[in-house]
């Protein structure tokens, strides 16, 4: 059971930073709050008393998104359901709808934020590999002598390990920035015990772009989740494929390189075989999902 002394709902970034800086030790910053309530239960943290909650979901500066210079900036309050319903997000972040549809269920997606998912730094978070594939970064805001200061990190530098990030006391994630990849095909692979409300055993975010002929890999982005303490970009697979002719043989041989990246502490053999399948299926699906390319992978194969 979760109890608290005070629950703050600041409406400006400055108010949020002030409240958070002054919050007594043991206080918690919350966004969607979909993780903290299940955490404060028997078998996990048990009964927990939090002196002060600072809830950032009404901070005006954290809403909305903007596109500039090939990057898209998401306010920290973007929730997972937005990736399925917002036309701009769907256009520029082609792997995110596939990631979102596998995330929890559509009720939790209404509350759960991408920024919160990154801040939790779970090794099995669905959002982190997708953000890594999108060359994502986070902007952190803090107060220094009454002035709002920010610093930025790539997602792989931001997450230090399971549950650990570079966030300092008084600091808040204010936005997430990602490559704006309109025209790419995206996909997301995940295995878990059931369809909805399931934590990944492993997952893989994929972004693919074919060249103007539709037959050669122009760009490939792959990132794994659930197979190590931090999200893993599959650089070796990506560089093996870039510039290559699209074929099942090429994909299959590159996919084998993915297995070497598996560094999780449990079920290594299983995860190794799963990620090879993920890379193959993920690339094929992402090729089919390219909005500007009509040809389907099967047709290319048989051409």
């Amino acid at each position: 059971m979760l109890t608290c002394d005070t629950y703050h709902l600041p409406t400006t970034l400055r108010d949020a930073l002030e409240l958070w800086a002054k919050a007594p030790e043991g206080s918690r910053l919350v966004s969607g709050a979909t993780d903290i309530l299940p955490w404060a239960r028997e078998g996990r943290a048990g009964d927990v008393h939090i002196p002060s909650f600072v809830d950032v979901t009404r901070v005006a500066e954290f809403g909305g998104h903007s596109v500039a210079h090939g990057r898209i900036r998401l306010g920290a309050n973007i929730v997972y359901q937005d990736f399925l319903t917002d036309g701009v997000l769907k256009q520029f972040l082609p792997c995110m709808p596939y990631c979102a549809i596998w995330f929890a269920d559509d009720q939790i997606r209404q509350q759960a934020t991408l920024a919160g998912n990154l801040a939790n730094a779970s090794p099995v978070a669905d959002g982190t590999p997708a953000v890594a594939a999108l060359n994502g970064g986070v902007e952190l805001a803090r107060l220094e002598n009454g002035e709002i200061k920010t610093r930025s990190f790539t997602v792989s530098d931001f997450i230090l390990g399971p549950g650990r990030t570079v966030l300092q006391p008084g600091e808040i994630i204010s936005s997430v920035s990602l490559d704006a990849l309109a025209g790419y095909g995206g996909s997301f692979q995940k295995v878990g015990q059931r369809r909805s409300l399931v934590i990944s055993i492993a997952c893989c975010a994929v972004l693919v772009k074919a060249d103007s002929t539709g037959r050669v890999f122009d760009d490939v982005r792959l990132a794994l989740g659930g197979v190590g303490p931090r999200p893993i970009r599959l650089n070796a697979v990506e560089s093996r494929l870039r510039g290559e002719k699209i074929s099942r043989r090429t994909i299959n041989s590159a996919a084998q390189l993915a297995a070497d990246e598996v560094a999780s502490r449990s079920r290594q053999e299983y995860r190794r075989s799963v990620v090879i399948g993920f890379v193959k299926a993920g690339i094929e699906e992402a090729l089919d999902n390219q909005s500007d390319v009509d040809a389907k992978f099967e047709e290319l194969e048989n051409a």
Binding site: M1, T3, C4, V30, L37, P38, E42, I108, Q110
Partner: protein, 627 residues
């Protein structure tokens, strides 16, 4: 407790209220506004019994701090339809029988309503995805999906409104779909389960549970807990008469609260009643229990060995119950066999996971009658046991069965009603105990994990000459329904087949695991898994068709069952004929089929298992097959 001022709109009514700062939207709706249609099935966002609309978006109210809802427009199940009426979705749920125990149904109706609001033409796959956050344990979802599809068609004008009406029943109810009488109360969220009922001046109770599987209780110090603000009373086994303490479905081996020692993790040690839930929970952490840990036993076969830790003093061999069944002469049966097959089968522990966690209220009425209201599946037996334990005449103990939000056998054991009754007597106030999901899982009985060693002798023509069947079941720490489960397993052991020579032994054994008890089929499933697997393996070994080997051995009119009961009616032949025809079974040995078979899921076949099937005409049922 620190307070928050909350202004919001609920079902078009403006609300302005001060409430505890830590409350979830679910608590606020249920406790402060008495809107109990949203339920707490898990408290962790997994089950969807608490789904409500917040500013038009469906969310799980157990995951939303109430502060987040301030200024919002909330819509609950109670607000979907005007009083006295139902929405098309609710009517469709009523029509198809989609509400069974009903506990998931308010949330399910909300999710279904949300699905069609988001996309009025959602196809079945999208409907399933949108209902993915809501769990039902009764229906197998078939009727729920059927209801959503009917409602969708009616709302879209593709079906007339009459499609929501009850189907006509001719001269007989048999063979017709009949609506459930209690469905309107469930689809509207009006039905109150035990946790939904509030009484004036009612205390909240919480239970301290054992962290150890096997330990002597050296001492319990409740003084600090009793001295806390808001705490009214703390009870332990010292408050129960020792001479009469003990309950169980067959053997009364379980004390109301652990007496002298604990036998499984999660066993009740003490209970606290307080003015509010938070005070009761905080008091639990102030109860000091000193344990002396004992060696435990966790495997039923280990438990039967000499020198194993003894769980109950009365049963030095750790045997809860051994049921032997003998018929004919097994030795000569095996001697006359052309082939003898032997194998082992095991099944695992299973949790019932009914959506309604255990809950109850007790109070003492003006005539000194101790009243316990709970979703017990066995109130009369509970009443008799409790009267005996408390030393009361039977007319001074009353049990009221509140609506059962799913039981499946898991609510047959009196694992908390005794504590509630005692607390009501001690405090002379109404007392309520609502289990958390975690508590329900740790404290309630499970399906018996079983191991069967099977030996079957057969003639080349497929006739069974003898069966030796030996089942060892993990009964866990208390007897509960083990004896009955072993009897049923023994009686059904060799299946619906006439076996002239059989030797059956089923044994439940005490261990320090979570107790095993009643669960749908009551021992039949474990036995049938072994028997039917053996029949298929025998068909393979004898190169016979699996239907054929079953027909050769099936019980008929005049057959004697394993327990020598002479049958005057038998229907396995008709059942096999129907299954064979409707599955369009391709005759042959099970292991010599090609990669493609047109039966079992091919065109115009019936699925081997249809959960929650309703009567439909043949054409419709084909379309509904793959669900």
């Amino acid at each position: 407790m620190p307070k928050l001022k909350i202004d919001l709109e609920v079902n078009n009514r403006k609300i302005s209220k001060e409430t505890d700062a830590h409350k979830r939207l679910l608590d606020f709706l249920r406790d402060d506004l008495n809107l109990t249609g949203a339920k707490e099935g898990c408290g962790a966002g997994e089950c969807g019994t608490c789904s409500v609309f917040v500013d038009g978006k469906l969310v799980k109210s157990c995951l939303m701090p109430v502060a987040k809802a301030s200024g919002a427009k909330i819509e609950t199940i109670e607000g979907l339809a005007d009083p006295g009426s139902l929405t098309p979705m609710q009517k469709a749920f009523h029509k198809t029988g989609a509400s069974q125990c009903g506990y998931c149904i308010p949330g399910m109706v909300m999710a279904a309503t949300s699905a069609l609001r988001e996309n009025p033409s959602a196809d079945i796959e999208e409907i399933k995805e949108r209902l993915g956050g809501n769990i039902c344990r009764c229906t197998g979802y078939t009727k729920i999906f059927e209801a959503v599809e009917i409602a969708k068609a009616v709302i879209a004008g593709d079906m007339p409104e009459e499609a929501l009406d009850e189907e006509p029943v001719g001269e007989s109810y048999i063979g017709h779909n009949v609506r459930r009488l209690d469905a309107p109360s469930k689809v509207s969220g009006r039905l109150r389960y035990a946790a939904d009922i509030k009484m004036h001046d009612m205390l909240q109770m919480q239970v301290l549970r054992s962290p150890h599987p096997h330990a002597n209780i050296v001492s319990i110090d409740t003084s600090e807990a009793e001295a806390m603000d808001g705490v009214v009373c703390v009870i332990t086994s010292d408050d129960v008469p020792a001479e009469t303490d003990g309950f169980g479905v067959f053997v009364h081996d379980q004390p109301i609260m652990a007496r002298g020692k604990v036998r499984h993790v999660g066993e009740a040690i003490a209970a606290v009643a307080a003015e509010d839930l938070v005070s009761a929970r905080r008091a639990l952490s102030k109860i000091k229990v000193e344990y002396e840990e004992l060696p435990g036993v966790y495997d039923p076969e280990e438990a039967m060995k000499a020198g194993a830790a003894v769980v109950h003093d009365y049963a030095a061999d750790n045997i809860v119950k051994h049921i032997p069944v003998r018929k004919g002469d097994v030795a000569s049966g095996f001697a006359s066999a052309d082939i003898v097959l032997e194998d082992d089968f095991s099944t695992q522990q299973v949790e019932h996971a009914y959506l309604e966690p255990e809950a109850g209220i007790a109070y003492v009425d003006p005539d000194d009658v101790i009243v316990v209201m709970s979703p017990s599946q066995n109130i009369t037996h509970h009443r008799h046991m409790l009267a005996h334990i408390l030393g009361q005449p039977i007319n001074k103990v009353r049990f009221i069965m509140s609506p059962v939000g799913g039981g499946f056998g898991g609510k047959e054991d009196m694992i908390y009603q005794g504590m509630l009754a005692l607390m009501a007597m001690k405090t002379n106030r109404p007392v309520q105990l609502n289990f958390t999901r975690e508590e329900s899982i740790i404290a309630s009985a499970k399906r018996h994990p079983s191991r069967v060693h099977y030996k079957m002798g057969l003639k080349w023509n497929g006739e069974i000459t003898a069966i030796q069947f030996s089942m060892i079941s993990d009964g866990g720490a208390y007897g509960m329904s083990s004896e009955g489960v072993m009897r049923k397993a023994a009686i059904l052991s060799c299946g619906p087949y006439e076996v002239h020579n059989l030797s059956v032994d089923t044994t439940a054994v005490y261990t320090n695991n979570t107790p095993s008890g009643a669960f749908r089929t009551f021992g039949g499933m474990q036995a049938q898994f072994a028997t039917e697997s053996m029949m298929d393996m025998a068909a393979e070994a004898l190169e016979m068709d699996p239907f054929e080997i079953r027909r050769i051995n099936m019980m008929k009119v005049g057959s004697k069952t394993h327990t020598q009961h002479k049958l005057t009616a038998a229907s396995l032949d008709a059942c096999l004929d129907a299954a064979e025809t409707d599955s369009r079974w391709e005759k042959g040995t099970p292991n010599v089929r090609g990669s493609y078979r047109s039966d079992l899921g091919g065109d115009d076949t019936r699925a081997p298992c249809t959960l929650g099937a309703r009567f439909m005409d043949r054409k419709t049922s084909q379309d509904e097959r793959v669900v």
